[in-house]
């Protein structure tokens, strides 16, 4: 089933009445790489399962151009999927697991063999091709799951956290391979990941879900620099979420304050003077400066490679997280500042809706 546009129209799935995914409307262009992001349990896997046809929709429809898809059984949609829990065929060797889909398409034996071998090489399991899934390590199993899905070169690939059990190096390699495959084969990909960096580096567009509802759909840059609400911000790594009050306002530039703390920032949605807002700042956007900024005391320093993660507290007891290549010691007094463009003010009461 190939398509130019894949359209999800109000896709909703309930579990015993409680919503797993609510009203997902999204058009995916052929060749796009879409990443689904969101906290654990937000409905990412549910969305993939609905797309794949593994879960019937409670409401809504899915269209491939003008063909209605959601009534077709999964095997007639011709999509590929990497399952979050792998779902490998326990009675088949790695090789047979990967070849299975090709055999289902009745490809000539030689081609099955060739493509299976390629996929095995892709996921670096040459040595393990004859093992059963039960004899593999977790990461090896995950790679079989990836190979089994991509070997089919399906029109749409659905990947549910496909790299979560791989080590950093392999993850990077696999990520590059997946991107390469996506481009060279002209696949359309919907990708679930909990790794922001992965999402940002791979995807053309991101969909952020929370409690089954879409929070924001946009390019990586949009999400990163302009999260639509504080939940997205929270999720996108704005670890400092401070409850402040709007004390001055010029355009969308606002002054935010509480006690000692005073910051200049940018309002993401219209706010009024005196509003309580949530102010989001990423740890890496907070800088140590010499003076004339927010004073705080270092409490915890965590070694993180070239940088350290610092937890500091202002005189008022507000906790701040920052990352810095400098190494302040616990107890030190520091001064912290941030670029107003990177200080985002969100209305505190914004609902779940995007």
């Amino acid at each position: 089933m190939s398509f130019d546009k894949l359209r999800l129209d109000g896709v909703t799935r309930r579990f015993a009445g409680r919503p797993g995914l609510v009203d997902l409307t999204l058009t995916i262009e052929r060749g796009e790489f879409i990443a689904l992001l969101g906290p654990s349990g937000c409905g990412k896997s549910t969305a993939l399962n609905c797309l794949a046809g593994l879960l019937p929709l409670s409401v809504g429809s899915i269209w491939a151009d003008d063909t209605r898809l959601d009534t077709l059984p999964p095997e007639r949609r011709g999509f590929g999927m990497v399952f979050q829990n792998y779902a490998l065929f326990p009675h088949m060797s790695v090789r047979r697991n990967i070849a299975f889909g090709l055999q289902m398409r009745r490809l000539p034996r030689a081609e099955v063999r060739r493509r299976t071998d390629e996929a095995i090489t892709l996921v670096q399991l040459e040595e393990h091709a004859a093992k059963l899934p039960g004899q593999l390590s977790g990461g090896q199993q995950q790679r079989v799951a990836i190979a089994r899905a991509v070997v089919l070169e399906p029109a749409l690939v659905l990947m549910d956290e496909p790299l979560s059990n791989l080590d950093a190096k392999l993850r990077l390699e696999m990520r590059t391979e997946l991107r390469r495959l996506h481009q060279s084969l002209g696949l359309t990909t919907v990708y679930v990941t909990h790794d922001q960096e992965e999402a940002l580096s791979l995807a053309d567009r991101l969909v952020v879900l929370r409690d089954g509802r879409v929070q924001q759909i946009g390019t990586p840059e949009q999400l990163h620099t302009r999260p639509a609400n504080r939940h997205v911000a929270d999720f996108m790594g704005y670890r400092n979420l401070l409850p402040l009050t709007v004390t001055e306002k010029v355009g969308d530039r606002v002054v935010l304050a509480r006690g000692d703390l005073r910051l200049i920032g940018t309002a993401v949605a219209p706010v009024d003077l005196g509003d309580e807002v949530t102010v989001g700042i990423r740890p890496e956007d907070l800088r140590l400066v010499d003076a004339d900024a927010i004073p705080a005391t270092v409490e915890v320093v965590e070694y993180q490679g070239r940088e350290v993660a610092v937890e500091a507290r202002t005189a008022d007891g507000v906790r701040l997280h920052l990352r810095t290549p400098d190494r302040p010691a616990p107890g030190h007094k520091i001064h912290v500042a941030a670029d107003p463009d990177r200080v985002l003010a969100f209305p505190t009461d914004d609902g779940a809706g995007g």
Partner: protein
Amino acid sequence: MRRGLVARPAAWLVWGLVAFFFVNLAGVIGSVVVSSFGTRWFDTWLPQGWTGGWYAQAWQEFGLLSVLLVTVQVSALVVGISVLIGVPAAYVLARRSFPGRRLLYLLFLLPILMPPITYGIPLATVLYKYGFAGHVSGVVLANLVPSVPFVILTMTPFIEQIDPAIERAARMCGAGTRQIFTRILAPLLVPGLLAASILVLVRTVGMFELTFLTAGPDSQTLVVALYYSMSAAGIRAQQSVDAMAVIYTTMMLVLLVVALRFVNPTQLVARVKEDVE
């Protein structure tokens, strides 16, 4: 996984009981086998003499060669067909919920519960009417009546045990329902299929009433001859009944061994995930 010392007494008890069971079982079987080869055996440990005559006589009297062939044919067909029909039905009953599911379950229970006395004669009438009874086909059809539900009932829990995610994965690979059955479920269900088949086999080979009611002169199975030799009017030496029983058991054993050969015998206890050690 190593078992702690605490498990020892329980283990010993279990093995002790198993051993006791085997010793007595060996006695039960042995006494029949010995008797079937004995000339006369009165109040002694062993018969006075040995002979194969009882077998020769039984073989000849019942034309056992053709009876055995019919038996093998009937039981193979019944096992094959009931698995083919029963497993898909068991699959639906295990995996799906739909209105009328319980009623259907009851419907499948009934043929197992109801003694053939209730339905045997009318069933045979139906089968005679449409020209099946009197031939192997009629015997097979009649035996399928309890066998199909039997397969359904035994297979349902096996299917429940299989993670549906595996099936979903197969669908994502483009496998249709048929391929799911042949390529995914069948291999995973091997222990269950084997158990169900063996039990259907045993029940079919031992099914006297329905077979007798629907068999023609050329489609009797061994159990009819066996019951005749055991319980018909007239004088029979105990040894000849013993010989018949041994023939019956030997045939079953051969069928069992063939069945186990057919499917790799280790799969009787095979599992999806390997145990450690």
